[in-house]
């Protein structure tokens, strides 16, 4: 019996190694939805900054118009309300495929506060391994989960602002029209912070950009 197991292992190992080589680290649907989401979310953010400037929620915070999209309020609104369709429908496809394929649970869970702390310390002291891009570290898991929830909050608070009369439940959930704008802005700030860290991490581990482009 023991000998049988060993021979099986020996013969199976090469085949097993060959399998992950052929299956991409990121499946094609994930790469497509990732980049569509990146385009939509960035267009939403840059045009949203121009809309925000028309009447800043926080008077001391004004976004330099040169880094905004749309040219003027009307143009920014057109970009914002065009990109929203891509953000929402692409987001639905991503969540549906992610959950249905079991990838969501497999990739993001379990994630414990202790593991996050351990990996954060390891990352800050430069000891976090990035050899296996198939496996998300705990900080990564948390960051991706946070930005998924954050994008959902952005869409819901945005809907409450856009259609405050038609969606009374959503409006009250956000604490009224004016408060929905505060929620929307703060969720944008969380997303902006994620983008900065995310891009910085990609710059530190350039191989991760290649895997998101070609899958391997």
């Amino acid at each position: 019996m023991v000998i049988d197991m060993d021979t099986m292992k020996a013969t199976l190992t090469p085949a097993r190694e060959a399998a992950p080589r052929n299956t991409p680290i990121h499946p094609i649907w994930l790469r497509i939805t990732h980049w569509l989401n990146a385009i939509a979310a960035l267009v939403m953010m840059f045009s949203g900054w121009r809309i925000y400037d028309a009447s800043p929620v926080f008077h001391q915070i004004v976004i330099p118009p040169s880094i905004t999209l749309g040219g003027w309020l009307g143009g920014a609104l057109q970009w914002h309300f065009a990109a929203m369709w891509l953000l929402v429908f692409n987001g639905i496809v991503y969540l549906a495929l992610n959950i249905a394929s079991g990838r969501f649970v497999a990739k993001f869970f379990p994630v414990s506060p202790r593991a996050v702390l351990r990996d954060l310390i390891a990352a800050l002291s430069g000891k976090l391994s990035h050899t296996d891009l198939r496996q998300y570290n705990a900080v990564q898991k948390l960051a991706y989960l946070v930005v998924i929830v954050d994008l959902i909050v952005l869409v819901l608070s945005g809907l409450a602002i856009w259609k405050s009369v038609q969606f009374p439940l959503l409006r009250e959930l956000m604490g009224g029209y004016d408060n929905a704008r505060i929620v929307h802005f703060c969720a944008m700030a969380v997303m902006a912070a994620f983008v900065v860290v995310h891009v910085a991490m990609v710059a530190l581990v350039p191989r991760s950009l290649l895997t998101m482009l070609r899958g391997r």
Binding site: S55, W72, G74, L210
Partner: protein, 258 residues
């Protein structure tokens, strides 16, 4: 054992070949990737010109028209905008127009006439005393500006749906258009015109509507953004021909619903 060994050997050879091919392809692929990234970076740098591009503008305008239809679909004619108490009024209520407060038009009430035209059986002009004699309604609602700010005001006047029926408007028509004393013009969809909170407004906070808020009358719609609410109205018409609007023709969304 033998038949099992063969496919494994084959797999290994294939993998090695694939690896070799990939390595051979790498320099050109890398270059391609680099160029693609540079191209993306360049297009980002010229962000302003993206907005000026004709085809991009045409696309964005088409999406805005699609959004008109989406909003008309979302619009529930029975869904009421929230109302507020006197204590929640925004004081002072902000003045807002496409000109400064010094350029607010001065309309003479005694020779003022409201013209009602288009697809109505009662095409005629109305004097202010005739309009003031119509059934009265009040509302304290939130005015939401396209810029994002909002303010709560108290408005008095006559329900617009009743007025439309009184003038024999064809309520199966698509639009109601407005022309204003300050050369502003605007148009709305019929379902919003018939909404119970759409108010032909003659009063602000229990007083005659002051010039800065649109004397002698404005159309108050708590279901629409501020720019959709015309002030200083001198003519209204029912039509099936899309009339546009002052801001709408410059790129604001036509439906402008909230």
């Amino acid at each position: 054992m033998k038949p099992n060994d063969k496919p494994i050997m084959k797999l290994d050879r294939a993998a090695i070949l694939a690896d070799a091919r990939r390595e051979l392809d790498m320099p050109s692929r890398r270059l391609f990737g680099k160029r693609l990234l540079t191209l993306g970076g360049l297009s980002l740098l010229t962000g302003c010109s993206i907005t000026d591009d004709k085809s991009v503008n045409a696309f964005l305008t088409a999406v805005s028209r699609l959004n008109d239809r989406a909003q008309a679909f979302l619009f529930d004619p029975h869904q009421l905008a929230p109302t507020y108490t006197e204590a929640q009024l925004t004081r002072p209520f902000p003045f807002n127009a496409f000109y400064g407060i010094d350029d607010v038009p001065e309309v003479n009430g005694s020779d003022y006439r409201l013209k009602v035209s288009g697809l109505v059986t009662g095409q005629r002009v109305w004097t202010l005393p005739e309009l003031y004699a119509l059934p009265h309604a009040e509302q304290i609602t939130r005015h939401i500006c396209v810029e994002g700010w909002s303010a709560i005001g108290r408005w008095g006047g006559t329900p617009f749906s009743e007025f439309l029926r009184r003038v024999g408007a064809d309520t199966s028509a698509k639009y109601v258009g407005f022309r204003c004393a300050d050369d502003y013009y605007e148009s709305i969809d019929m379902p919003t015109a018939l909404h119970p909170q759409t108010l032909l407004t003659f009063e602000y906070d229990g007083q005659r509507l002051p010039a800065k808020y649109g004397y002698p009358m404005k159309l108050r719609m708590p279901t629409k953004l501020g720019y959709k609410n015309p002030k200083h109205i001198v003519e209204m018409f029912v039509t099936n021909t899309y009339p546009g609007g002052y801001w709408v023709d410059q790129g604001y969304n036509w439906f402008g619903g909230s």
